[in-house]
Symmetry: C2
Subunit: 208 residues, 2 copies
Amino acid sequence: MEMSALSENGASGSPWERKRARTRQTIQRHALRLFEEQGYHATTVEQVAAAADLAPSTVFRYFPTKHDLVVLDDELIMIRPFIAAFQEQPPELGVLAALHNAVRTAFDDTGASRQDHVDMQDRARLVVTIPEVWAANMNSLATSMRVMSELFAERAGRDSTDPEIRGVTRMLCGSMTMAWLGAGSGGELDLPAILEETVARLRTGFDL
Amino acid sequence: MEMSALSENGASGSPWERKRARTRQTIQRHALRLFEEQGYHATTVEQVAAAADLAPSTVFRYFPTKHDLVVLDDELIMIRPFIAAFQEQPPELGVLAALHNAVRTAFDDTGASRQDHVDMQDRARLVVTIPEVWAANMNSLATSMRVMSELFAERAGRDSTDPEIRGVTRMLCGSMTMAWLGAGSGGELDLPAILEETVARLRTGFDL
DNA sequence: CTCATCTTGAGAGTTCTCTCTCAAGATGAG
DNA sequence: CTCATCTTGAGAGAGAACTCTCAAGATGAG
């Protein structure tokens, strides 16, 4: 029954696991495509099932709610590489200096799987075009902010409730969120570039 | 049939209109209370109707969808006073200086109706605790950002697509949005204070 | 090939949102 | 008081999300 306790992670497990993973992915891809084409509400789970050539009940087996078809599995997946890069910065660097470096490095690594990253980007992009889905990711956003506050606080040797710490976090996450939101309504989305500019502005401010 | 074309606005119209307005408000109040107490999904329209001592069909007559029970009627209602204050600033002031003044004045006026303002605040506060509702206000947020970009661009004599203009707008709106979001998960919400601090930081940046 | 295991399909059923209609009730105008 | 106008209740019903179950099908292990 437990022949493959060794290979637990996604890439390859028992044959059943892999089949499940593949099916799950297929369903989700079709769902996202349909949501994009027709809108979230206008798309029924039945349609998704039909597109994936499955029965509706099967879709519900994989995704308990329609909602889950589009929520990111891992709350912190968006910022995890960035967190790592930030923590690797030499401790003598200030928060904003470390931030600056982290941003540069976090977007250079080829990452674990490029395809996953692209998929994630696609989904992230879609998130913003579907209000219902965006809402679902608000929790994720709040979590990210908490994590980042603590990261900054630690480096600055302050409490994570420090007004200044909270301020930077708010403006940083806020700026990125608004950029992301803006990408939904037309514009193209160069998150790394905006991130870099935001960090720069956090240090110097504007002169307008 | 049209005896009172003179008094068109909300305060007092034909007796029927006033009754309608009152009923509408009653329903909405009960709905928001229940949503807050039990959560949005856990609350059925039937419960709302019962609380307001009305038939479900009547509730649907006033609010075509459950959703509408909580969406803000006016997209720009949150920032309208601020917009006015900003535009009234002398033209020789820079964007950030005008912003600074506008913020101070916009929150001093007693406003048209204090009660309305409080109601609005309550609803705004509730918005953030109900993801489904938050989503509904994303459009409003995008609109606000567009309006503000144009406001800033005009004063700066630049295009509203200018990177710097976009940058300030993002960081300003983003900061406020994150503050609002944060208020949902525990903290108290002193939006004016945070707004003032944000504007200050937009000029000076942080030194961390 | 055969068996044990896991996945799938089909369909009945529940709940909730939302629509529609019509008779009954409430209310202001004369 | 009476009438015209508007609001409400009750209920029937559609559509979709979601649950559950069991038989049938697919697949890897021996």
